[in-house]
């Protein structure tokens, strides 16, 4: 319930700002995956240690993003729903995730902001997480970032391991670094801990290091090696020390105070292939090895999966300022310009084509919301704008970010078309 209220508050925060719409972008991503894993710790969005879920699984997830960017300020709102059924009869893991993030650019090398979010998942037990984390990021070089964050996490487990209810708050901190070595190699590292353990950090600290290698040539192959170390003293509560991968505890749990050193090695290989501009197919394989001072033998697990991802960037918030994207097609000696436009008025092409004579070359409605005109053009560079005339009102339409544009010298921009 709390999480739903928070989500609504985020949305309500954005709605009263139609004037921001011209700087607002949207994207939607969906993923459909099938796979097999021997431990839900390796399952996307699950990340809870449970080896009884040794099962094939499916996953359908859709996430949306609102992204507002103006000058030195950026705000994004992310939210989505995940549905993860298991083929051997276990309860489906499903729920939502939503978070908002603000980034202020103090200088080109220093950013500061906050991340506030919530997630709620249900299966044999319920897991609700809420967090707020201010952070600061420093870019000592173009390819290296250092990130310090500190904040509070509120965790609620209901019916965990049949009967355990957990409701706690962790005030945690993290220092992370990321560096790209020659673009292909990505090195990441982080130290995570809880304030309650300070200054005796050995009582609850985790570290994580990963090395990724990208092979990019149309298709993308990513290999990743990750090492996570948890050092902790804990009693009955499941406590992973604020580290990555969600709450984590040793199998079986305990009510005694213990000092434990857990180590996890993960190696992952993923390949993706762009089927179209908006669709990519992928396969992924992962192997993990868990070692702990509390057990004699290491525990090995694996996950393998494959699926498709769809990404769209719809223009949903265009009421404040409509943008258009001219599409040019060539047919023998003539060129056709098509524009999708939802609005009233008549459209005209004005530019070097017609010596900027107003009102310009009319665009006729070819089908609903699609306008076109056909031109014969000599080779050369042509700058142009699209004018909409509605009664006595005349307005220049703005171009989408995907349009080739140049500065017009008067403080605005023109679209550019080069005929070869």
């Amino acid at each position: 319930m709390k999480s739903k209220v928070l989500t609504m508050l985020f949305i309500a925060y954005l709605l009263p700002f139609p004037a921001l719409s011209q700087d607002l972008q949207t994207s939607v991503t969906s993923e459909f995956r099938v796979g097999y894993s021997s431990n839900t710790y390796l399952n996307p969005f699950f990340s809870e240690w449970d080896r009884t879920y040794n099962s094939g699984y499916g996953l359908a997830a859709t996430f949306g993003q609102l992204f507002w960017d103006k000058n030195r300020h950026k705000f994004e709102l992310n939210g989505g729903y995940v549905f993860e059924p298991f083929f051997t009869g276990q309860s489906t893991w499903h729920g939502h995730l939503a978070y908002a993030r603000y980034i202020g650019q103090i200088s080109s090398k220093l950013h500061a902001g906050f991340n506030i979010g919530t997630s709620g998942f249900q299966s044999d037990f319920d897991r609700n997480l809420h967090w707020v984390q201010p952070y600061i990021t420093w870019f000592p070089s173009s390819f290296t970032s250092l990130h310090f964050k500190a904040g509070s996490n509120f965790r609620e487990y209901v019916g965990f391991q049949d009967s355990l209810n957990i409701n706690n708050r962790l005030d945690s901190y993290a220092l992370e670094m990321e560096s790209w070595i020659g673009f292909r190699w990505q090195l990441k590292g982080g130290i995570y801990g809880n304030f309650e353990n300070l200054p005796a950090i050995q009582n609850g600290i985790s570290t994580s290091f990963s090395l990724r290698h990208l092979f990019v040539n149309g298709s993308r192959i990513t290999s990743e090696l990750q090492f996570i170390n948890y050092s902790s003293e804990f009693t009955t509560t499941v406590d992973e020390g604020g580290g990555p991968g969600g709450p984590f505890g040793p199998p079986g749990g305990t009510t005694e105070t213990q000092s434990i050193n857990d180590q996890i090695w993960r190696i992952k290989l993923e390949g993706s292939y762009p089927v179209s501009n908006n669709t990519s197919a992928f396969i992924s394989a992962e192997r993990s090895l868990y070692e702990s001072s509390s057990i004699n033998d290491g525990i090995g697990d694996f996950q393998i999966s494959g699926g498709v991802r769809f990404s769209l960037t719809p223009n949903l918030f265009t009421s404040g300022k409509r943008t258009i994207e001219p599409i040019w097609t060539e047919d023998t000696d003539q060129y056709t310009l098509r524009i999708k436009y939802r609005g009233s008025g008549n459209l005209f092409l004005v530019g070097d084509f017609n010596d900027w004579e107003m009102p310009g070359i009319p665009l006729r409605e070819e089908s609903k919301n699609t306008y076109k005109t056909v031109l014969k053009m000599e080779p050369g560079l042509y700058e142009y704008r699209i004018l909409v005339i509605n009664g006595s009102d005349e307005k220049w339409l703005e171009f989408s970010n995907n349009t080739s544009t140049v500065k017009d010298g008067f403080g605005g921009t023109n679209a550019l078309k080069i005929i070869e």
């Binding site: 970032s145 010596d355 080069i418």
Partner: protein, 297 residues
Amino acid sequence: MRKTTNISPVRTLMKLTLFSFLLIFPASISAQQTSLSILTQKASELGIDESHITRLQERAKANGISGDQLAEILEPAVTLAEGDLPFDMILEKTSEGLAKKVPSHVLLNVLQGLQEATQQSVNIVDPWMQKSGVQNMLERTESEESVQQFRNNLLKSTGRALNQGLTEQSVTDFMNELNNDEILSKINANEIVTSLTILPDLPTSSDNPELSGKLIIQSIKGGFKSADLQKLPSAMQMAQSRGQLPVGNIVNGIFQQLEIGAPATNILQGLFDGKIGGPPAGVPGRPGNPIDGSGNG
């Protein structure tokens, strides 16, 4: 009596003012017409289409621009025509400014800037076109007529670059970089013009035009064609906006992708998606994709 004495100088002053207006105002109108008609005649003699001038005159009148102001506005085109330099760009910009209802003083400033930049660009373009590598490329790909068109387009693009604040030296350096066998074997005249056209619009150009030049050169070497180059400025601006990272990161990211042979369409798409330049999506400072294949929610 006192009243009459007081009013009399005022009346005299008013009469003098009215008389002055009657003398000066028709002369002013006449002077405007004269300066415009002299310029129009001169323009016509220099090969500027008379009907074009008439069209501009009509549009200027509709915008409330006086004949005197129009004469000033046309002066840069006439000056270029006198120097046997391409003046079309000035006329096009005039038409554009009138269509956009740009105030006449702003329009005049822009046109004067363009005129100076076009004159400067001759010093860059003509010596460059005489270079043997360029001559070979033109002989291979262009007709004699299109070579003249190529020169005009180069002057236009170079003038535009200079007018947008690039120095003569930085444009010259860039064109010298283009005069390279490897480059000239890969491109045609249009791609050279496109390269110059986008040069001032890259987000790096205001601070580091040399870096912009290198980026274009590397992009051409990496297989970017004219249509790809056209998209580069807006794609980079998008990447900068999405990632809020120093633009140097984005340029480095493109260099690295070019180095490993990534196709132009992939690089451009990556830029539009905000996925090129420094740390990738999902890390601080970037618009993280919640589903990035990392397996963690």
